[in-house]
């Protein structure tokens, strides 16, 4: 069974979507490690190392995603899990910015998949299956 680490990054306490993601991915047959809200980059990375996770799925709902996620890929590389899949989704930037540009920003930061606001987790599930080769 493949392991996915999920959580909400930064000073962000939006817990509802986090629970829905946990529910959906668990039902889909994944071992979900939910580190919850107010999580730091290090919390995600540490959990991924200990659980030998294949994917880290970061949620950010309060607009500060870009600041909170910066440097995360580099830290993964330093921690020896440089190849891990990194997804991010939610309201990851403030206001109504052009999503194509937002997506590019996060891809440049080393994220594998970037989702716009309001994406149902089922859409992401298709990508997860594909990326994890299932």
């Amino acid at each position: 069974m493949k392991t996915i680490v999920i959580g909400v990054i930064g000073a962000d306490v939006h817990a509802v979507g986090n629970k829905i993601i946990e529910y959906t991915l668990t039902n889909a047959g994944y071992n979900v490690v939910n580190i919850g809200v107010l999580s730091t980059q290090e919390d995600f990375i540490n959990a991924a190392i200990e659980t030998d996770a294949s994917l880290i799925l970061v949620s950010s709902l309060y607009g500060h995603g870009e600041i909170d996620c910066r440097g995360m890929r580099e830290k993964c590389i330093e921690a020896g899990i440089g190849e891990i899949l990194l997804y991010v989704g939610g309201n990851i930037v403030v206001g109504k910015q052009d999503f194509i540009q937002v997506k590019q920003t996060f891809m440049d930061m080393g994220f594998t998949r970037v989702y716009p606001p309001g994406t149902p987790i089922d859409n992401a599930l298709k990508d997860i299956r594909e990326d994890l080769g299932e």
Binding site: V33, I49, E50, D52, Y62, G63
Partner: protein, 460 residues
């Protein structure tokens, strides 16, 4: 009429406590120097003679049981994967088992780390790493590295369950003294103490006390059953929780300042508040931390090291002493007892620093986080603000002329906004130095142990 004799073989003193079960009281106590370097039974029999003299006659004991921290106590190395997770979990298990954690390693261990395990004469290695079903590679690497290096001391594997079989094979392949137990961190941030702690205790009793020359005492007494710090932890827990109809004290902290270490115990849940978010590895209800660099004799130089140059100058100026010289004197002659008011003053000062620093490292922290939906509190570690009692034990505190001033240092005297130190606890002292003995007794007769503690641990 039944009498129990409870013994604590300490690093410096062998302490005896005789209890009568019918009178539900202590008959008397006595102590003599620990003689583990030559023959541990010599010191025991001397102490026993003193005890008989105090009682006025020789008495029979139904049971004679002991705990021990003699010959360096139980020295362990905790090895895990990630520092904040399995390394921390492994460390907490060792501390909960009454060990001194001399070495702590994370990720792949290297040759110099293995050398340290040998040089520091570690008694037991606790090898953890990986949540269940998680990372196996690291523990397999480490088990093999220890095997290749020819490590023959007991190794407890308490990591990823999926790696158990392979680790067991490695233990066999290299003819290691290996043991398998449940994972100390089966899931992220979940702490699982029991299985590994019990294994540590068993190995301590089966092998370590023999290697240290303590086992030979079992020809004179019934058994050594616990490492001393675990006995104190058991006593603290009993005193807090109560037993059957006998009520306990509720949430409490015990501080034990010795010559070589300062031990801090807290018995309470991590928080009682509903408006905080707990962060990090789960905290044990009965938590022990031990500071190997804080003590008033062997470890007095550690106190100096923890101070900045300016702080030292300030102390020397304000107290009109040469603190570095005083510390050196105590380090060079660890059996020094205070001879005059000046010596007492220095010991008092050192104990106060130990109490302050040890609590600084034991206590949890809280942080206000401003989020778009308002202010939230983020807590790591244990919240001790509501603790009802802070109890002092150990020679330095018991013999101090100003006990309160030492215990006060565990509270929030500097008005820190982040440290969750006790706010307004009642201060108590284990005047008769019986907590370890009562931890032992609690294994035989918890109700009696509790009654005696409630009688002799007094408010100051």
């Amino acid at each position: 009429m039944a009498n129990f004799l409870l013994i604590d073989f300490g690093s410096t003193f062998t302490k005896l406590c005789a209890v009568n079960t019918e009178a539900e009281d202590i008959i008397d106590t006595a102590s003599y120097f620990t003689t583990v370097d030559t023959d541990i039974s010599v010191g025991y029999h001397e102490a026993l003679k003193i005890l008989y003299r105090k009682i006025g006659r020789e008495i029979e004991f139904e049971q004679v049981i002991a705990c021990s921290s003699a010959a360096g106590g139980l020295k362990m190395a905790a090895i895990g994967l990630v520092e904040e997770l399995t390394v921390e979990a492994a460390k907490r298990v060792c501390l909960g088992a009454g060990a001194k954690v001399d070495l702590v390693f994370s990720h792949h261990i290297n040759k110099s780390e293995i050398r340290q395990i040998i040089e520091k004469k570690i008694d037991i290695i606790l090898l953890a790493g990986g949540a269940d079903g998680g990372n196996s590679e690291n523990v397999l690497f480490n088990a093999r590295a220890l095997g290749k290096a020819g490590i023959k001391i007991p190794i407890i594997f308490a990591g990823n369950k999926s790696a158990q079989d392979e680790v067991a094979d490695i233990f066999e392949e290299y003819e290691m003294d290996g043991y398998i137990c449940d994972n100390v961190m089966p899931k992220i941030n979940v702490l699982n103490i029991e299985s590994a702690r019990e294994k540590i205790r068993q190995i301590f009793l089966d092998k370590i006390i023999e290697a240290k020359g303590i086992k030979s005492i079992e020809k004179d007494i019934d058994a050594v059953i616990l490492p001393t710090p675990q006995a104190v932890l058991e006593a603290s827990k009993l005193l807090s929780e109560g037993y059957l109809t006998e009520e306990g004290f509720g949430d409490l902290v015990v501080v034990d300042i010795g010559g070589a270490t300062t031990d801090m115990y807290s018995i309470c849940t991590p928080t009682k508040r509903s408006d905080v978010l707990l962060h990090g590895l789960e905290e044990p209800f009965a938590k022990r931390t031990v500071e190997g660099d804080l003590g008033v004799r062997y470890s007095a130089p550690g106190i100096i090291k923890s101070l900045s140059e300016q702080e030292i100058k300030f102390i020397n100026m304000e107290k009109n002493v040469d603190i570095e010289k005083e510390v050196e004197k105590r380090y060079n002659d660890v059996k020094t007892l205070p001879e005059n008011a000046h010596d007492e003053f220095i010991d008092q000062f050192l104990a106060e620093v130990c109490a302050y620093r040890a609590m600084y490292r034991h206590v949890g922290r809280i942080e206000e986080v401003f989020t778009p939906i308002g202010k939230v509190f983020n807590q790591t570690g244990k919240d001790l603000t509501d603790i009802k009692y802070v109890i002092g034990t150990g020679g330095v505190i018991i013999n101090s002329k100003n006990q309160e001033s030492i215990l006060l240092r565990t509270t929030n005297i500097l008005h820190s906004e982040t440290e969750l130190r006790p706010l307004e606890p009642t201060f108590m002292v284990d005047e008769k130095y019986i907590m370890a003995a009562m931890g032992l007794l609690s294994k035989k007769d918890p109700l009696l142990a509790l009654k005696i503690m409630k009688k002799y641990i007094r408010t100051i």
